[in-house]
Symmetry: C2
DNA sequence: AGCAGACCGATACCAAGGTATGGATCGGTT
DNA sequence: AACCGATCCATACCTTGGTATCGGTCTGCT
């Protein structure tokens, strides 16, 4: 797969470096119809799927896609502003990377957006390659975040089936206590501790002490 | 200790909420002599020690204090700019919280500073209470960062005395392998593995498997 | 040459971990 | 009433972990 680059003008045609997770989407929120279309075409030209919304309400109504995504967000819009949406997403627990795009920004607003976790803040008119670079970086980040979160979520899901007593025992294990010490603290016998411990290990699918401890650490018990 | 607040004007006189670590310092870098003095007086009035420098070079020459600190930094100065200093500190590994203070900021510069990890970006003229709040927050953060880093550094220091073979064994332990499995992988006997393992445990001051695993995780072996 | 330290091994012993099997109570559900 | 799951206890058995004490080789440094 030989790639010849002849001119700067062709840059937007080059494939995205790492094809990313393959399935991802760029969410565009802007009240300007023409601009939405321009952005959509830009992303399409490099093979990035995108969805466009004319307002924050429209996006929220649609809901967030369950795949790696990032948001290209206009700061000033009729109705809820970009900052509002950012705050809304944060309290919803949706940690989609947000890239602000605006023509009329002042420094305090910029600071507020960045402190709230915005990935970048680009002025309109935007340079296409800069936007594409930022977007692909954002998609990559979101993909990685999702991967690590999935692993965590799986452990948490397994942990839901733990009985109170089992978590008591696990806490002791994580603290490095001996079975007999755990037994003393809980007022039960060492044998029972072993029972709970092996039961907990089975539920968390841990075949080693090391794995068990790491999972308990992750659960924050 | 009853505190009566009668007027907004007295706000700058109220003591800092959490006395912080007791010993901390605010680093002021600004080329304006009067402004440095004004800031210094402001911090003094609330009991915050501060040091002022007329340029980034002056600060670098002096070196960073080894206690919780934060930096109040002018963006535009003759010689190296605030952004330069921020980058310089970053590559030095000094993670002092930086608060930018400037009268002439544009959005791209703000974004750059925030992406580079600035804690805040306040416009001149600055509201005193806002600056004080930001500074005390920064000092608190730096204090917490130092605490956790100290614990980590201690483990890393201890880990330096580990022999290559001992780290090999620890890697196996962290992966949840049995001693005999580690022995097989390393091509040695189980007895030798036990030896290295106990030796490593002694060096890392771990009195339990759980503790050992957590420390190995921290070391990123 | 002498020494320190990393590295490897063995035997022996005891403590701890882990599993299997069997049995018990209690509270809540169907 | 029958059942299930959480909790608890016990005996027995084997594996693993951990330590001590003894021994050895090799490298690098003084």
């Amino acid at each position: 797969m030989l790639e010849v680059r002849v001119a700067q003008a062709n840059d937007r045609m080059r494939p995205v470096e790492a094809p990313l997770p393959g399935d991802c989407v760029v969410l565009i929120v802007d009240d300007d119809d023409d601009f939405r279309e321009t952005l959509g075409d830009l992303f399409t030209s490099v093979g990035l799927p995108s969805m466009a919304f004319p307002s924050t309400a429209a996006l929220l109504k649609n809901g967030l896609p369950d795949k790696p995504s990032c948001m290209v967000l206009d700061l000033r819009m009729p109705g809820a502003s970009g900052l509002d949406l950012q705050a809304r997403l944060a309290e919803m627990g949706a940690r989609v990377p947000v890239i602000f795009l605006t023509g009329y920004a002042d420094v305090p607003t910029t600071v507020r957006a960045m402190k709230a976790g915005a990935l970048d803040f680009l002025p309109k008119p935007v340079r296409e390659q800069e936007l594409l670079d930022t977007v692909t970086d954002a998609l990559r980040r979101d993909h990685e975040r999702r991967c690590s979160e999935d692993a965590d979520a799986e452990v948490r899901r397994l942990a839901q089936s733990l009985t109170p007593r089992e978590t008591d025992v696990l806490r002791g294990v994580s603290r490095g206590l001996l079975n007999k010490q755990i037994a003393f603290e809980l007022g039960i016998t060492e044998i029972t501790v072993k029972m709970h411990r092996s039961s907990a290990g089975r539920k968390l699918r841990s075949n080693s002490v090391a794995d068990l401890i790491k999972k308990v650490e992750l659960l924050g018990l």
